[in-house]
Symmetry: C2
Subunit: 488 residues, 2 copies
């Protein structure tokens, strides 16, 4: 039996290549690393414990930051009455084609059909309207962690594209535009921090072009992450909604002079698509690669023994694992029925950032061998300072992952001008192409029709000088810089 065979004749390791067949490779990593499986209904997945544990850690980070900055969690119903959805016309037009409807329940036809929430502005905003009376009640900041359903008729890609997905959705109301705009940027900044500090992925932040904003929003800001296959992922969005939702749902307050005013609102969301970006960015042909902050196990200790050294190696390993367990998430793999090679493969596949090998030599010399998951680099550490050494090694693993992703990003933001140059650059390299843009959607369409790339963002700062004086497509005067990319 080979190391890559689990004894039931099924191939355990990854068989597809990330560079040659990224789609098949991704699906294989997700399933073989036991992150998710396909549900019986097309478009749905089952999130297995190893996948859900990553999502829980993402939640823990974001939720802590939210709470530290004045956000309170709440829970609103799964269903939204059709009449509520219809009150904000852009929302209903934007989401109606993707809504799942409940019309029958408990053997009865419902008087009014209920939408399974595709997003919750239209049920949350009316309650904010009820709860806000005076300027003292503002800002009001609510968030919920839940699932939403959007019936998109596209191929399922676990975490990237599923009909039901887990996310958080924040909804806030403010007395002034300035306060609401600050909120929008605070949340975008927290998403960027999650990507960079926790997920080891550098992001690009910007605005969506007007024709691609969230329905009803004044401004949609986005953080985009570049995938190794050259496509961009919209990793989180934060919307300044202006007063359109407040007007539709009547969110008013009395100011200090007892005058009635309309509030400004925001909403912002990050979904498990972030997990898709995480898996795709760092993983390789051996399987999953995770940054230490999100790994269910940060360290696996693998004892290597022969008959005559079994006892001493196991004892040394167990003590070492117990000491590390005080500081890190550690697993001691002391299974008798598997050899070390099998164990290495399994834990590489499952993405444990650091492996510690302990054999008779390590025991004799009072050492341990640390092996970094991303590149297999190994180092020998003193047993006496093992906690410090492991902490340093995990920091190094994070730094390696971030540096590699940063290099990919830096190499893949290119300038181009003129229809052919834009198409050629996108076609040859993928990544982002920066060009001057007149602001007309038709110029995006011209590129999109040829190569399925679109304007994934424009700069946040509306006053920033465009990269070119003229539009890269139509040659009219440029209003801003457009970032074209293929995307997920």
């Amino acid at each position: 039996m080979s190391d890559a065979d689990d004894g039931d004749g099924q191939e355990l390791g990854i068989t597809e290549s990330k560079s040659h067949k990224p789609g098949e490779w991704y699906a294989e990593v997700v399933q073989k690393a036991e992150l998710a499986d396909y549900a019986p209904m097309g478009g749905f997945i089952v999130t297995r414990p190893r996948g859900y544990a990553i999502w829980e850690r993402i939640q823990e980070h974001l939720d802590g930051w939210f709470k530290d900055s004045g956000v309170q969690n709440a829970y609103f119903p799964l269903f939204i009455p059709e009449s509520y959805l219809e009150k904000e016309k852009d929302i209903v037009e934007g989401f109606d084609p993707e809504v799942a409807w409940v019309e029958k329940a408990g053997h009865e036809e419902l008087e009014e059909r209920l939408a399974v929430r595709p997003t919750s502005e239209s049920i949350i905003t009316p309650f904010i309207a009820q709860w806000v009376r005076s300027h003292r009640d503002l800002p009001m900041r609510l968030n919920q962690w839940c699932s939403v359903v959007r019936w998109e008729a596209t191929d399922t890609k676990p975490f990237f594209r599923t009909k039901e997905f887990l996310w958080q959705e924040g909804h806030t109301a403010h007395a002034t535009e300035e306060s609401a705009w600050d909120e929008t940027m605070t949340r975008l900044g927290q998403y960027e921090r999650l990507y960079e500090e926790v997920m080891a992925i550098p992001g690009l932040t910007g605005r969506k072009p007007d024709h691609d904003k969230f329905p009803g929003a004044h401004t949609t800001t986005t953080i985009e992450a570049l995938m190794p296959d050259g496509k961009s992922v919209q990793a989180g969005t934060s919307h300044y909604l202006g007063t359109s939702f407040a007007e539709a749902y009547d969110v008013t307050y009395t100011d200090e002079d007892e005058d009635e005013r309309v509030a400004h609102t925001t909403s912002w969301g990050l979904s498990w698509r972030a997990m898709g970006a995480l898996i795709m960015t760092h993983s390789d042909d051996q399987g999953l690669v995770l940054p230490p902050a999100l790994a269910p196990e940060q360290v696996v200790v693998v004892p290597i023994w022969q008959e005559d050294t079994r006892e001493e190696v196991l004892e040394y390993s167990a003590e070492l694992a117990a000491e590390l367990d005080e500081e890190f998430r550690v697993h001691l793999d002391d299974r008798d029925e598997r050899n070390p090679g099998f164990k290495y493969n399994e834990w590489e596949l499952k993405g444990v950032p650091l492996r510690i090998e302990v054999g008779p030599n390590e025991v004799e010399d009072g050492e341990a061998t640390l092996v970094h998951r991303p590149d297999g680099e190994n180092e020998v550490a003193d047993r006496d300072d093992i906690t410090g050494a492991v902490g340093d090694a995990l920091d190094t693993v994070y730094a390696k992952l971030y540096a590699a992703a940063e290099e990919t990003l830096e190499e893949n933001v290119r300038e181009a001008h003129g229809r052919n140059e834009i198409l050629g650059t996108l076609g040859q390299h993928g990544g982002y192409v920066k060009t001057g843009w007149c602001g007309d959607e038709a110029c995006e369409t011209e590129i999109k029709d040829q190569i399925a790339a679109e304007i994934v963002m424009v700069p946040l700062d509306r006053d920033e000088e465009p990269v070119h004086e003229t539009c890269g497509v139509c040659e009219e005067e440029a209003e801003e810089t457009a970032y074209f990319a293929k995307n997920y």
Copy 2:
């Protein structure tokens, strides 16, 4: 403007009486303490931040215990295809009348209609079947925190009875009956611990009579809590499912001799009904009362000043609050626009377990006055040992709440024998009536038809001697002891 008026002419305090109109009083507490509001669709509620914060703390406790005892969280789809639901006949019969169906999504009729999950055995068990191959994969213990929908056509009572509710559902598979039975009892024990240690409510544990088991279960165990109005709440249930689900969904494993065997499964759930029990048990005519472990704020500091003492009182209060904040969840209410009486009422209404009053006298003497929410008892504490004193006071608050609930429970478990005595005792006192029972559902029906009380549990131990030799209703030989009660 009176202390009980918030300036908009709306009455802030509780106006209904717990003892005279428990239903109206409960609804008022829930809304005025800002725990929940009614959603626009009948049967649904919106859980506000103060309510959701309590649920988050319940989750934190249970989730920690689950993980410490081998449970892994996962997430399964919101929808279950009808054909999956139909595979276990008891499940489909048990839940079909309460299911909400999605038949149309994204403008298309679905080929197979989808149930919004009423419980997830029928989608989770088939995946356990897929993931379990050998005895080494067992026990497999999964849990998810989610919402479920059951279209019950009864009056909404926030947290007690809602068409959508939040809960956790655990699903496990085991090699042996013994292991599955241990699991069932472990989870029941954790629910009991939550009630007693965290919620300060003593529970009674038992089995449901066979005719009231979870559909398809071998045994349903329950923890029941007595409400002050004399009704019982089924506070959490843990089911030993035998092999019926494993057979329906083909959960088999190869044992150590390579023989194929059928697994034994369990499921167990606790919903936000626990929050209903919590609110109803401890609260009073001043509003919400919470045990310290679950209170969003454990301590509120209220400074009391006149013009000339303002600065010193506020400074002293702020320092005291900052010191306490290291150990407890503390709020300093230094609002200028509200007087101390208004603040006392507001924080009593919202259920803060301990109030600290700081006036010029306290500042001068280096002291602070601590006031216990449940009974208004106050004590003077030394400023120098404030952290210790507050810790002790919070322990005392918990002990007072538990003792009161325990006394109510002990006074309200009564023996009765004979139809009239059972009906009379239930009618006069409520609470639990213990009587011998032949095991025939007809004897329960006879009581139920008269007084809407039912057998809420029988003893866990099947060999326990019945309390009477004959059935309290039909006078045939008694098989076990039945606990009759009205219930939620």
